[in-house]
Symmetry: C2
Subunit: 422 residues, 2 copies
Amino acid sequence: MVIKGNFLYTPAIDKTVIQKNAYLAIRNGRVERFYKALPEEYAKEKVIDYGDAVIIPAFNDLHIHAPQLINRGVGFDKELLPWLETYTFPIEANYADSAFADRAYKIFLNQMWAAGTMRFSAFATIHKAAAWHLMELTEQSGLSACIGKVNMDRNAPDYLCEETEQSLEETEELILKCQKEFKNVSYILTPRFVPSTTEKMMAGLGRLGEKYDLPVQSHLSENRSEIAWVKELHPNSKTYTDVYDAHGLLRKNKTIMAHSIYLSGEEKNLLQEKNIMLAHCAQSNINLSSGVMPLRKNLAQGLRCCIASDVAASHTAAMNRHITASIGLSKINWLQHPEETALQLTEALYLATKQSGSFFGKVGSFEPGYDFDALVIETDEMGGMLARTPFEKLEQYIYAGDDRNILARYRRGKYIEKPFAL
Amino acid sequence: MVIKGNFLYTPAIDKTVIQKNAYLAIRNGRVERFYKALPEEYAKEKVIDYGDAVIIPAFNDLHIHAPQLINRGVGFDKELLPWLETYTFPIEANYADSAFADRAYKIFLNQMWAAGTMRFSAFATIHKAAAWHLMELTEQSGLSACIGKVNMDRNAPDYLCEETEQSLEETEELILKCQKEFKNVSYILTPRFVPSTTEKMMAGLGRLGEKYDLPVQSHLSENRSEIAWVKELHPNSKTYTDVYDAHGLLRKNKTIMAHSIYLSGEEKNLLQEKNIMLAHCAQSNINLSSGVMPLRKNLAQGLRCCIASDVAASHTAAMNRHITASIGLSKINWLQHPEETALQLTEALYLATKQSGSFFGKVGSFEPGYDFDALVIETDEMGGMLARTPFEKLEQYIYAGDDRNILARYRRGKYIEKPFAL
């Protein structure tokens, strides 16, 4: 396959590469190389020409709560813990109902598609059947994901509180079924967060992680009240991070910890050593008045950080808006801390494409060998009366665009249609 | 006319009124009163029933640069002064071309309509013909606005720098034509900001303000470098605010000053005494790393503050996103200043409807006698499977909605269609 257009991608955090009016050869869904003029050997290939549009790597979102998407925007006059109790747990209870889950998860996947997020890592709910259905629908959609049933067996309302053994059994059942039946969906262990999971649950999940060599996702150090609560629940652990580590839940290279705002130097060193992905969720942290992750400092230290949505503590699945939220928050932070320079657009794009893509392999860039996951973007509304560089089109899409500016979506070289009619 | 639905409005900053399944009688475009059941006298009236949708006052945006809308999103890696020179002045230069201005202003008005902004106060450019054309198009659109040609005769690139006398003559010409020909558009004096206007220009505009009893709009105290520059240009003026005041440009009850971030106590007292409208532009202030207006303190003091867009230092005309930006910024500010409590949604809605509407008269509420400027909002995507209160629908629209959630728009009782086909 050959695609023609203006390609823009970020092979490194401080580097934007633009291939103007270039031909991109794609083989077996992977990027082969760019050409200025198409060589003889491709003479018989069909060339898809996207004209003046800009083609960028698709987004990867490493922290999202699929069942909460339909609740986006509700309840942001509250902070994390009361928000969970008042709005979030009640919405998750609905997923015991299969008709509700079917419609809500189709809406979720349509929104991910609309947003240009071709890969994600999602929390489901505690409900085995609904989690399985989300995996099935995701496989059907053409998108790719890590998905986990949530585990929670303490400090949850009765209707969401699990019996530990049964939860672990159901988890193992899903792991095995998932490995057997899906190509594009894999299982990720998903303890909700320390306050919701007993030591027995965490240890059991740690054992499953070891047994099947699985990735893990959870929340870490989001809010001051939450951190105080963890301290109270685990007085003998040195830090919040240590609680996960002690139970085998900081799995090297394959763990996502959302938020990670208030970390000590020691915690940071451990997270760096294990190459844990810290999912920075700026819009969520603003909505719930949680705090400001020192992203610039974390990046300077070499911590593995990406930009993620955290729907529905954020209010949209659209990763372009999480990029702008991250930049905006870094600018406000810079006003207080002039040594922590603000995030540039190139850096933020990298964190939402290549950096988050690294969780799935060679994903999120147009370097040779990378999966061709791409979005074709057009922002022109002046009918060509105003000349725009590819970078300006990128800027306009990231700041002011929405799904209507995405003309086409690809995942591993395949054109992806809107998944579900509703 | 009678409209049925769930009405939601904010008669005071801390008060949301919800009229569920109510009938609203509208006479001569103005709100008469609500009824739980429709009285006999209306038996023959046609009732427009919006079912489960939520009906809220339309937005009023008191600070927007109409010519810059097509540039939204471009150049936010820079601060105010370099951003102006690199991106904003060059785009404004295009408005010397009437074909360009025609298309760009139609796009602008379509976007205002889409956003649900039924009234606004806009800067045009220095170009008399284009400014006049924007006024004509606005009158045609069914929206209502204050619009001013920009005046600037110093510290501007050659292609945007005016000769003072001619600028004042052109301004007076537009004032007179505008008074004669329009019902829904009125002239507002629009010195760009102190650094761009000589004392002679400011004094001339002050005289026009007095002669025709006109409103004024400008920028005040947005960025630390800008403030230092004003001090350098006017070493004998005590403050930035004083420069405007000394030239008759703080016209009592009818002046809008955008940003107003870094104000001394003395400046605040003067602005309060003159009842100046301070347009808080949170998204802009974030994008250009300008600073944080102490909104909570200003409101507590009784300063007249509203929420505005400041396109294109912000990246969207959509007022719902400026509401969320203001709330978000106030939450981040609260983390640093716990005594300045964060803005609640009700408060922010008030600042973008009734407070900004006060600049146009009885506008921005559904109290008796108010112009019926309204938006009909629907956010349901679960096909009724998930019950939502009117306030939750409001939350979902404000945080997660866009123009596709607005089913109908009214201004002074009139249904407003999309203004222009392009």
